[in-house]
């Protein structure tokens, strides 16, 4: 397989199915493209569980390692992103259990990185996100953590764009309600 730049049209047009098949034929370049294509999405998935960007990146690396070993077992090759997200969620949950990390605002590096005057509202936003269900939390993080498109979120979660829109709207409604109850916007 010829090597292209990751953003070249030739690469973006290659389907997941083809990439998985060629990777299984012993072509590591295909797997590299898959990893790069879904790295940001998987970090977001892991981040929604771990609430720590460094841990999320570690989880993502482990996810690719497990995916590498189990790629042969993937039957619906076109469903690679959803399958990968499933592995990623499990890896992140395992890490959460072993490291006893809690999803709370105290250990969120992101909050600490923001300017002081933004901290209050950032904390409140995180508290609101923390109150969402896992699936709602995941879709919010996927959308806002790395600014993923609906199309990519749809591929990763295996649901329609309409459903994503619905979930996001419901989640944001809950966030807005929580912020309002806590005096935001001030």
């Amino acid at each position: 397989m010829p090597v292209f730049g990751d953003d070249s049209p030739a690469v973006t047009e290659i389907s997941e199915k083809s990439l998985v098949e060629t990777a299984l034929d012993g072509e590591p370049e295909s797997f590299r493209i898959l990893c790069q294509r879904y790295y940001a999405s998987m970090v977001a998935v892991a981040y929604s569980v771990l609430a720590d960007s460094h841990l999320a990146e570690d989880a993502d690396q482990e996810t690719f390692a497990r995916a590498c070993c189990n790629l042969r077992n993937l039957k619906r090759k076109d469903k690679f992103p959803g399958w990968l997200a499933g592995i990623c969620r499990n890896v992140a949950k395992d890490m959460l259990r072993t490291r006893s990390t809690q999803f709370n605002t105290n250990n969120m590096a992101m909050v600490e990185d923001k300017p002081q005057n933004d901290c209050c509202i950032n904390e409140a936003v995180w508290q609101a996100i923390n109150k969402l269900s896992d699936s709602a939390k995941e879709v919010v993080v996927l959308r806002y953590y790395n600014g993923l498109s609906y199309e990519k979120i749809s591929a990763v979660l295996g649901i329609s764009k309409g459903s994503i829109n619905g979930r996001l709207t419901r989640a944001k409604r809950k966030i807005a309600k929580y912020l309002k109850q806590n005096g935001f916007p001030r």
Partner: protein
């Protein structure tokens, strides 16, 4: 869905709170960190896990989606997962999209869940009463490797069951008895499963024929759920007197969160409550989890073949029931049939106990009772007869005692061996007597579930009623298959069926 007011402000606030820029993925670094994993890609033949063959994969997917695999303990997984899953759609459910659910179920490569069962009463008339018997079952399923089910009660392991698709086999390990049994699937049965289950939506369409009541929304473990309730006993293949099933589905995920079942049997004398929850989907699988570990001191019980469920075995079951009881079963409900056979067996045992003691052809003889107003001469004769009877009985009793002593001595030395023989004998007995009947019951159950308009008249039809319909079911729009009283079989039109007597 309406957009939010002030949406832009909220977008900005959320973005500010959580947005970041993930650095690009460094594949070379990753390769260095995970050299072995990477190697599985580069030299898959040498180091990669061999891919299961297509047939291995298909078989398990079929088993996973099949209602027929209710046989033996596999029933629980099917009831707990598939019947549960397939009920979650429907045109009127506001937030749960069936298409989405079907897709998710299709994609589910692995999952696990737990069941808690509480039983009270008598499952069958002749069985002992159970009081608050609690059982916990944990199930793990992989599309690739099979299924493992562990049952415990009061913290004590009762049974482990494995389904091994690559071997077409089920293995049951019974720690209390230190035994294990291997049961094999029949190719024909698997073929039948394939036909019925190629399309999982087929199952849904079939099951959605049952009416359900919407229970609205609720919260379970902090998850917003929507529930439905199904009360049609055909849901359980007509196996129970009543069966009320509630299924609660995560509104956002579209996957089951909890399923509850209330079942009654034996005219309300047996009550069972079952809760299945803690569902986890697409979990990581360790293949070694699905390899049965049988301790060295466990011995193998008789191997069994899981019976087919077709017309032929149904007739075999009817013949066996006739042979055991002298008549056809009143109903083809599996529980009732097994209950009826157990009852007859118990009566036979009771009659055997009540038989006069006997050795060889000699029986103990009862002493004559003295009638009222007996003459002295008759009394003298009666006493003489009774004296002879007593001598006769004494002689027989002494011989019985000698024989009993010899038997006891022999039994003592072979007690351990006897235990095994007893177990194996029981299992063999079950195979020869109950398996054909079980096949019959399961066959009827599938007819009910598949809505093939089955009707059974065993309460009025006997083996001499050569022209009377014993069992019939629909095979096409205008065609019925009929088993007559003499167990002959014929396909008839709906009009011809109407003319037949039953």
């Amino acid at each position: 869905m309406k957009p939010l007011k002030n949406d832009k402000w909220l977008d900005d606030v959320i973005s500010k709170a959580i947005s970041t820029q993930t650095p690009p993925f460094d594949f070379d670094k990753w390769k260095q960190k995970y050299p072995e994993e990477f190697q599985t890609l580069v030299s898959p033949v040498e180091k990669g896990t061999p891919a299961p063959t297509a047939s291995e994969q298909n078989i398990w997917r079929i088993i996973m989606k099949s209602r027929i695999t209710k046989i033996a303990a596999a029933a629980i997984i099917i009831i707990g997962v598939f019947l549960g899953i397939v009920f979650m759609g429907g045109p009127d459910m506001a937030s749960v999209s069936w298409a989405e659910v079907a897709q998710k179920v299709e994609q589910a490569q692995s999952f696990m869940y737990q069941i808690k069962m509480t039983m009270n009463g008598r499952m069958m008339p002749e069985m002992p009463e159970i009081k608050n018997k609690e059982m916990e079952i944990s199930v793990i399923v992989s599309a690739e490797y099979g299924m493992k089910m562990e049952t415990s009660s009061e913290g004590k392991a009762m049974q482990q069951m494995y389904i091994i698709p690559r071997e077409n086999a089920m293995i049951m390990i019974m720690p209390e008895m230190k035994k294990y049994i291997r049961m094999e699937f029949d190719e024909e049965m698997l073929e039948k499963m394939k036909k019925q289950n190629q399309d999982p939506r087929y199952m849904v369409e079939e099951l959605m024929k049952f009416e359900y009541t919407e229970l609205g929304r609720n919260t379970i473990d902090g998850i917003e759920v929507e529930g439905i309730e199904v009360t049609d006993p055909r849901f359980g293949g007509g196996m129970f007197d009543s069966m009320v099933t509630q299924l609660w589905v995560d509104v956002e995920e579209g996957l089951p969160v909890r399923m509850e079942m209330d079942i009654t049997q034996n005219k309300g004398q047996m009550k069972m409550h079952m809760v299945a929850d803690n569902y986890q989907w697409n979990i990581d699988i360790d293949p070694s989890e699905f390899e049965p570990i049988i301790p060295n001191d466990y011995t193998a019980g008789p191997s069994m073949k899981i019976p087919k469920m077709n017309e032929e075995t149904a007739i075999g079951g009817l013949k066996k029931f006739l042979e055991l009881t002298g008549h056809y079963p009143e109903k083809l409900n599996l529980m009732d049939m097994v209950g009826e056979i157990s009852k007859i067996k118990k009566e036979e045992e009771k009659q055997a106990e009540e038989k006069p003691l006997q050795i060889g052809n000699e029986k103990l003889v009862a002493i004559e009772v003295m009638p009222e107003n007996i003459s002295p001469e008759e009394l003298k004769k009666l006493m003489e007869r009774n004296r002879e009877t007593m001598e006769h009985n004494k002689k027989i009793t002494e011989e019985i005692m000698k024989k009993a002593e010899r038997t006891m001595a022999k039994a003592k030395t072979t007690m351990e061996k006897f235990k095994d023989h007893d177990f194996d004998a029981e299992m063999n007995k079950m195979m020869t007597e109950f398996m054909p009947v079980q096949s019959l019951g399961m066959f009827y159950m599938t007819l009910v579930q598949e809505d093939k308009d089955p009707a059974y008249y065993g309460d009025t039809v006997g083996q001499d009623d050569v022209d009377a319909v014993l069992l019939r079911w629909k095979v096409a729009d205008d065609e019925y298959r009929v088993i007559f009283g003499d167990l002959s079989v014929e396909t008839v039109s709906a009009d011809q069926l109407a003319e037949l007597k039953n």
